[in-house]
Symmetry: C2
Subunit: 383 residues, 2 copies
């Protein structure tokens, strides 16, 4: 447990898990990040032939605590629905790696760290990073762990973007790729929602032009509004209707005021409040920006070109009610992979739970992932 989650001084070494420091990391922006710390967790034992390593990539507000109890919230690991003993990704069989992304706020180097050149928190002087930068850092970690090839890279949402970037940038290092509820580029609507969140943070006077750590303030109200807006996009209209509808919160009648009359208001406010306890506002700016910038086709000429000649096996998953990363975007990915004769399977899972379905108990998702990863294992055993 760190002493005050976002308070200065920040002792990442107090966080559970492991750390690797790279002397430098070249970035897509042309800048070079120095003394780069990567916070990560591993579970399971690496096989003698190093064939059982699975890298899990987290989403926008996720972290390396995929299986462990979260040190701030005390909640169980964010993907314990799919990762754990007897789960599709199983520490009894796999060597599981999960790293906090560069630019994040759970131990990997990000905007709330001290800039070694100045000794002061980076704030907005932190370089803008990309999904490729995050993946480049992860590749250095995988190198350091002595692993040439990953059995699988798996992730949802922004984690899925990293999966695609891995498969595009390091095709020989990825035997299987599972991009879930994601896309090959961030849509205009998604950029728009991110921009609303960033503007909400920057509108908070406590943001102080990004230098709030030095000022001793925290843009909590702005960050909470950003989270509330984003949270709506993670759900779906039918799920909100089913869970909340127009049910009132602890009252029989409308209050004719601006209290949280409706349960859905109370729920959203709670989401905003609890988020600011565990997340850094500048990290939110940087990570949303990295997602906005992601565009495989722009980098490679086309999505198909990004995967030409790939021998990676792909399992693409989408959810019917996900309107943040709708199925049509997964289909476009599948078409591009098919166009280069990639080994790809695709599953659209019927659920009303929206984008967040990838984080929830979804038996079909578990079955698909289990089948795909076991198929992989069997084919290796037979070869």
């Amino acid at each position: 447990m760190v002493d005050g989650p976002l308070a200065l001084p920040f002792y990442p070494q107090a966080l559970p898990g492991r750390f690797l420091t790279l002397p430098e990391l070249p970035l897509d922006s042309g800048q070079v990040l120095r003394d780069v710390r990567i916070a990560f967790t591993t579970h399971g034992v690496l096989a003698a032939d190093k064939s059982n390593a699975i890298l899990i990539c987290h989403a926008l507000t996720g972290d390396q605590y995929v299986l462990d109890t979260h040190p701030i919230t005390g909640k169980t690991g964010w993907w314990s629905t799919l990762v754990g003993p007897c789960k599709p990704i199983d520490p009894q069989r796999h060597f599981i790696i999960c790293a906090n992304v560069i630019g994040g706020c759970m131990g990997s180097t990000g905007p709330r760290d001290l800039d070694p050149a100045t000794g002061r928190p980076y704030g907005l002087t932190f370089p803008v990073i990309t999904i490729a930068d995050m993946v480049r850092a992860q590749a250095a970690l995988v190198d350091w762990l002595g692993i040439d090839q990953l059995a699988a890279v798996v992730g949802g949402s922004m984690g899925g973007m990293q999966v695609l970037q891995w498969a595009a940038a390091y095709p020989h290092r990825v035997r299987a790729a599972v991009p879930i509820a994601t896309a090959t580029r961030h849509s205009a609507q998604n950029i728009a929602f991110h921009e609303v969140g960033r503007q909400a943070i920057m509108a908070d006077p406590d943001w102080r032009g990004g230098a709030y750590l030095e000022a001793g303030t925290r843009p909590e109200r702005g960050l909470a509004v950003a989270r509330m807006a984003a949270h709506i996009t993670y759900l779906s209209e039918p799920a909100l209707q089913r869970k909340f509808g127009r049910t009132l919160q602890n009252r029989a009648n409308l209050s004719f005021g601006f209290d949280a009359d409706f349960q859905v208001e109370s729920y959203l406010r709670h989401q905003g409040r609890s988020f600011v306890e565990r997340f850094d506002a500048n990290a939110y700016l940087y990570i949303t920006r990295a997602m906005d910038y992601f565009d495989l086709a722009a980098e490679h000429g086309s999505v198909a070109a990004a995967f030409r000649g790939t021998r990676t096996r792909f399992c693409v998953v989408s959810f019917t009610s996900d309107w943040l990363f709708p199925t049509v975007e997964s289909r476009q990915l599948v078409r591009a992979l098919t166009a280069v004769a990639a080994d790809v399977s695709f599953c659209e899972i019927a659920t009303d739970r929206g984008h967040d379905a990838f984080l929830l108990e979804e038996p079909e998702l578990e079955a698909v992932l289990r089948g795909f990863l076991n198929g992989r294992d069997r084919s290796r055993g037979a070869s």
Copy 2:
């Protein structure tokens, strides 16, 4: 042109248009509003038999300038696509009435007015109002104009809620009702988006607990964020993709910064900035709350019960890409109207322009409205 749109002192009488003052208006909350000013415009001439009056109800951020140039923005009337000479609603044939809603900020009594009891701006002491309160004020205006029965009540979005409330509360006074892109109750997701907007405003320190007028401040940043979030919901993913996609704004390459790299960001920021020049933050709170509270079924037991025995002709219109008030909600309304044998026609218009389609040049909408209103006129002529 008013001198500084939202600055104190506020001279509503400087606004173009007409005014009516009611000594009091009883509200759904049980409170009574005193010295209620209704700002409205009329166009055309009331027929001797008073049979040609059409009431237009405006949406959340609309006003009475349905046809006239807006006194602040200088733009042409907000519904000049459908209202005007040779348009479906035609001042050469109809007597057109449009009133700013109670709780608004364009001349009708709202939270930035002075409370006659204290001589100070209402701010958050203004009573929470409902769609029924808005319609009650309009009914008093229609009384004052000496009109028993309206040829039609027409409106989109929140205007459509008022249309439905008119038809439910005053069935004998509404010959024809045209609810466009609306619903009989505000959905959980829509309440959630409104709550984000309200929280953004209330998070702005310049909001001052609602008493910003007395403090001489304006919560411009919060209101702009609220508008940005809402604006996304008025469009559609395909329209955003078509209009902006990932096109960069006045640059050839990504800036690796937090400027508005993408056109969609620049567009949204502009929407936020221009909105605060013409709208009052507290009015935004009150009007969104009125929409949240709207629920015909809760008031009447069922939607069908709200319209039992109605002789009003209904023309219900929805748009395929509207995800704020999706077609399914219009269909539910049509089913309820059909269940009580109401005279109802329904048209879902194919467009990728989202909820905002009702404000835009949509030839099919124009044709549907023209046909419906002319049919009305013909049947009267034949009778």
